[in-house]
């Protein structure tokens, strides 16, 4: 019984508590950042509508199960599908027109894509706020209840979140390294011109990458909705956290992002427990500044 645990036992449990909670949040960050960095690696696009797409997934899952009563599994699938559609729409309606435009100078296209996706994200955010208010929403967890791990009461859903994140990241690794399609994606990130010389349509590869991104962002969004809940206010912070994780890990480096996600996740959790929940994000941001000074390419960056 947790009620009768002594203060000393509680103090001994604290490191374990940080270990468990930090793992779940880090795994979630990792999943969110993986898709973000994949797109950058392959097509050089920094998608600043990332947070909006994650929130759209969570809110769609919430609306589907609470308003239309479809159950939490179907709700989760609808959430992921929403993110997939939103991601493809981002590519076709925002990114591709900018990349193909002849009126925008090539060297300015990156900044146009940044601005375009940022505005697109704000539009999605406002639509969500208009339709569903800016109150926070939570997705019904797929697994409920709690289990004790060595005395630490842990929601089953937290374990589920961590497992799904690890599984999906594992599947992504298999997809990229073990399938023909994945190898084409990898090749495009190394040498786009070479890929086209091999007779592969670059646009097709981009669509595949945006679709993979959409599914990853959708899963991350729905899981975040179950774990902590989201509101339209979460859009900015979610984009910012993915951005800082990816920059910390090295732009375009998937393994760098994974490491950075765990560094940031644990640093935040440690701060929240040992110092104060109010200062949660500060040390991670300071670390980002330090890394920018000492190693501007990030932990595992190539350039």
């Amino acid at each position: 019984m947790t009620n009768v645990t002594s203060a000393a036992q509680k103090a001994r449990m604290l490191p374990l508590q940080i270990l468990i909670d930090g793992f779940a949040i880090s795994a979630l960050y990792a999943l969110g950042a993986t898709g973000f960095t994949l797109i950058f690696g392959v097509s050089g696009v920094l998608n600043l509508s990332h947070g909006a797409i994650m929130v759209a997934a969570a809110v769609a899952a919430w609306a589907a199960s609470s308003t239309f009563g479809v159950g939490n599994y179907v709700g989760a699938v609808i959430g992921i599908a929403t993110a997939l559609v939103a991601a493809l729409l981002t590519y076709f309606a925002v990114v591709q027109p900018i990349q193909r435009s002849r009126r925008i100078a090539n060297e300015e296209k990156e900044i146009f894509v940044l601005t375009g996706t940022l505005l697109w994200g704000i539009m999605i955010q406002e639509v969500i706020a208009y339709l569903f208010t800016n109150n926070a929403k939570t997705v019904l967890p797929i697994v409920e209840g709690v289990v004790e791990i060595l005395g630490v009461r842990t929601p089953r859903n937290e374990i589920f979140t961590a497992l799904v994140c690890c599984l999906v990241i594992g599947l992504l690794w298999l997809l990229v390294n073990r399938t023909k399609m994945g190898k084409a994606v990898l090749a495009a990130s190394m040498n786009p011109r070479g890929v086209t010389l091999l007779g592969l349509e670059l646009t097709n590869i981009y669509v595949v990458v945006w679709a993979i991104y959409g599914v990853l962002a959708g899963i991350a969004g729905v899981l975040l909705g179950m774990f902590l809940g989201v509101s339209s206010y979460s859009v900015g912070p979610l984009t910012a956290s993915a951005f800082s994780i990816v920059v910390l890990g090295g732009l375009g480096s998937v393994s760098g992002s994974l490491i950075a996600a765990f560094v940031v996740g644990y640093l935040e959790t440690f701060t929240a427990y040992m110092i104060s929940p109010a200062y949660r994000t500060i040390p991670a941001l300071l670390l980002l500044v330090i890394v920018m000074y000492l190693r501007p390419q990030g932990l595992l960056g190539r350039r």
Partner: protein, 239 residues
């Protein structure tokens, strides 16, 4: 119950509230073990609930408005065994149950009026008309704002002017039965200058609880529809 932890969001409105909590809780026999003020943009409440649980209070006294859904859902998901009681503005929204997937069950919150609660004969017709027009029942601000329009209009008529001093004099004489009770104000020399008069026959406020996805009045006894009840994970200590 013998002990409490105050959990408030760090905002201007909770500063005087927390002073009041700290002064008043000991007078009803609740020792304040800890006082936690957290940033209103907090999304993960796990460390906060862990810290509260470590000091083993009998109740968590809340002062939350900007946040509501997230701490409530995490309280339920993490099965924090301590009841929450106090101000939780979002819980006054009739959509709070849906927003939290009914994790709200067991939350006790203060209200001025509530769905289906006949605080005065005006309360229920107003709430029903509000729902017919806007699709959901009013939150706390719906009731107070509705009353304000009427007693301010009456005061303007009595004063025959919108001049500030004349209007204040007229408002001091307010005696208006609204949706939240009978509205009267303290005079300018009273301790609570121009504050609403509280008490039996005037405004008492209500305590409501989310039960099985519904907002239910549990205090005062005249309007209470049900007794307080908690979900299974809550361990209520004896009085």
């Amino acid at each position: 119950m013998k002990s409490a932890v105050i959990m408030s969001e760090d905002a201007a409105w909770t500063k005087p509230l927390d002073v009041g909590y700290k002064d008043c809780l000991p007078t009803v026999g609740l020792k304040v073990l800890d006082h936690i003020r957290f940033s209103p943009d907090t999304t993960d409440f796990t460390p906060i609930f862990n810290k509260i649980e470590a000091s083993k209070p009998d109740v968590i006294i809340t002062g939350i408005s900007h946040v509501g859904v997230q701490p409530t859902v995490q309280w339920k998901n993490q099965q924090v065994p301590i009841p929450m009681f106090g101000i939780s503005s979002q819980a006054t929204n009739s959509t709070f149950g849906k927003d939290t997937n009914n994790a709200s069950d067991g939350v006790l919150y203060q209200g001025v009026s509530g769905t289906g609660v006949a605080v005065t004969p005006k309360s229920v017709p107003f709430a029903d008309a509000f729902k017919a027009k806007y699709g959901n029942y009013p939150s706390y601000a719906g009731y107070t704002a509705y009353d304000e329009v009427y007693y301010i209009a009456e005061a303007v008529k009595r004063a025959g002017s919108t001049d500030a001093d004349k209007l204040v004099a007229a408002l001091e004489k307010t005696d208006y039965e609204g949706t939240i009770g009978r509205v009267q104000f303290y005079g300018k020399d009273d301790a609570f200058t121009h504050g609403l008069k509280y008490g039996k026959g005037l405004i008492t406020g209500l305590m409501l609880q989310w039960q099985d996805g519904q907002q239910v009045a549990v205090w005062p006894p005249e309007v209470a529809k049900s007794k307080i009840k908690f979900p299974a994970f809550i361990k209520v200590t004896a009085n």
